[in-house]
């Protein structure tokens, strides 16, 4: 194959393995983060059990065995890596943004719109995740009643007694945005690498995402109930 080899060398730049590693890193950090997000939801979901007793036990356990102290920085690291790997796919230059937006509108194609949504939710997650992390770290450790009062926080009162429970709204939006990004992200990883029939697979992943969102909405409701049960923020279980 000498002839072919020489031709190939002259006509193509040799890229080495960088592009491969970057592509793999994008998908692998994506999978890790989806795993993290779904596990996180299950952990938060323990608030359903015994009015938060299991929730507290879990939080204490993670703290005691240094799983939280290792897990949180590790997750932050993976997110940062993911931002660099996946973010480079997003249209960056103004010119590219304009082309991508116009084309999406013109072809009006389902999966392309889903991707536009993924780029937008990525930006929102970037902001929300930082805020969320800040809240958790500055009020460490995590306790059911503390979290419950946060979620149930009546918020800023306006005239006429009307108020906006900003934490509740924050978590509700964060939940939707995060699960959208993760669910469709996993879908696209499987489309890019996999053997699956993508329409059927899409429905399976949508099903899982809806279940996770339901757990999340239920958990938010449970937090407001726990807050009612223990009206004093510091109240022990």
């Amino acid at each position: 194959m000498e002839l072919a080899k020489n031709l190939q060398k002259t006509l193509n730049k040799s890229y080495g393995k960088t592009d491969l590693y970057v592509d793999l890193a994008e998908s692998i950090t994506g999978i890790i983060l989806v795993g993290f997000l779904w596990m996180h939801m299950l952990f938060v979901g323990t608030i359903y059990i015994n009015n938060g007793a299991l929730f507290n036990a879990l939080s204490e356990g993670l703290d005691k065995y240094y799983l939280a102290q290792i897990g949180i920085p590790a997750t932050v690291l993976v997110i940062l890596l993911h931002i660099f790997m996946a973010g480079r796919r997003a249209p960056m230059r103004l010119r590219d943004l304009r082309i991508a937006w116009r084309l999406s509108k013109m072809i009006n194609h389902y999966d392309t719109w889903v991707w536009v949504g993924q780029v937008i939710t990525a930006l929102l997650i970037g902001i929300f995740a930082s805020m969320h992390l800040w809240t958790i770290m500055t009020t460490w450790p995590i306790e059911a009643v503390k979290s419950a009062h946060r979620v149930a926080e009546p918020g800023v009162a306006f005239w006429g007694g009307f108020s906006i429970p900003y934490y509740l709204i924050f978590y509700a939006i964060f939940l939707l945005v995060g699960e959208y990004h993760a669910g469709f992200g996993l879908y696209r990883i499987l489309v890019k690498w996999g053997w699956f029939e993508r329409h059927k697979m899409g429905w399976v992943l949508k099903g899982i995402t809806v279940i996770i969102i339901c757990i999340g909405v239920g958990a938010l409701y449970m937090f407001t109930q726990v807050a009612k049960m223990y009206p004093h923020a510091g109240g022990a279980l």
Partner: protein
């Protein structure tokens, strides 16, 4: 009663000094079996001889009549107006160089692809014109036939966000093309040599997986399968490769 169809067509001739891009409307009554191809010819013959568009085969074989019809890339000769609303917008394909009105130069783009991916069978066997043709297993022949059906219309390229913003990306048609040679036992190129061609961001790893190409390819080639096949194969090949590497400064 037949519908009155209105065609809003992109007009611009870059070679005519002072010409400005604009949309021009033509209208006539629909008749049975009308395709976009017939409609454009009717407009050119009866209403406006200056209208530029491409066609050769009028049977979805040559791939030259691709254009954006109501926002989506289609072959004009394969598109029945009966399946469209009565108002039809027609634009040239993006990405490719505009020749004029609806006519774009897909030829140069595909020629570059041909050279870049070396789209021919690489073999060291001497050709013997007197020997019987070597037989191929039917299963493999059928496998190769799927990607081989590509008519080089450019619809998958025009509709791909990645191809629209990254000039060097070879698009679904390019990756599909290379995967066709990977399947072909007559091509003696090794995985490492294919990796050299498509094991990068301009090739197999550049695709973001939006699947507009797969949904809108007029030949209904299973592009998702082809793209994923090439990606897996190239990832496996790349992980095994050893590069000598040159240290720069």
């Amino acid at each position: 009663m037949a519908r009155q169809l209105t065609f809003s067509i992109f007009r611009y001739n870059p070679n005519k000094p002072g010409d400005k891009p604009r949309m021009q409307e033509y209208s006539f009554e629909e008749f049975e079996g009308l395709t976009m191809f017939v409609a454009l010819n009717k407009i050119r013959e009866e209403m406006d001889p200056t209208l530029m568009f491409d066609f050769v085969c009028r049977a979805a074989i040559c791939g030259s009549c691709a254009m954006m019809i109501n926002g989506r890339p289609r072959l004009a000769c394969k598109t029945m107006t009966i399946n469209l609303p009565s108002r039809i917008t027609v634009m040239p394909l993006p990405v490719f160089k505009l020749i004029g009105d609806l006519s774009v130069d897909t030829g140069t783009w595909f020629r570059n692809l041909q050279v870049k991916t070396e789209s021919w069978i690489h073999t060291n066997k001497k050709f013997d014109p007197n020997a019987l043709e070597v037989r191929m297993e039917n299963k493999i022949a059928e496998q190769i036939y799927e990607p081989e059906r590509c008519v080089e219309c450019g619809c998958c390229v025009a509709t791909c966000v990645t191809a629209n913003i990254r000039e060097d990306f070879i698009g679904a048609t390019g990756i599909n093309r290379v995967s066709r040679f990977m399947m072909d036992p007559r091509d003696e190129r090794s995985d490492a040599e294919y990796y050299e061609v498509v094991g990068n961001e301009d090739g197999a790893f550049g695709c973001v997986g939006l699947m507009a190409c797969a949904d809108l390819c007029p030949m209904e080639i299973p592009l998702q399968t082809q793209l994923a096949y090439a990606r897996r194969k190239m990832a496996a090949a790349g992980l095994k490769l050893q590069f000598a590497g040159v240290k720069i400064s």
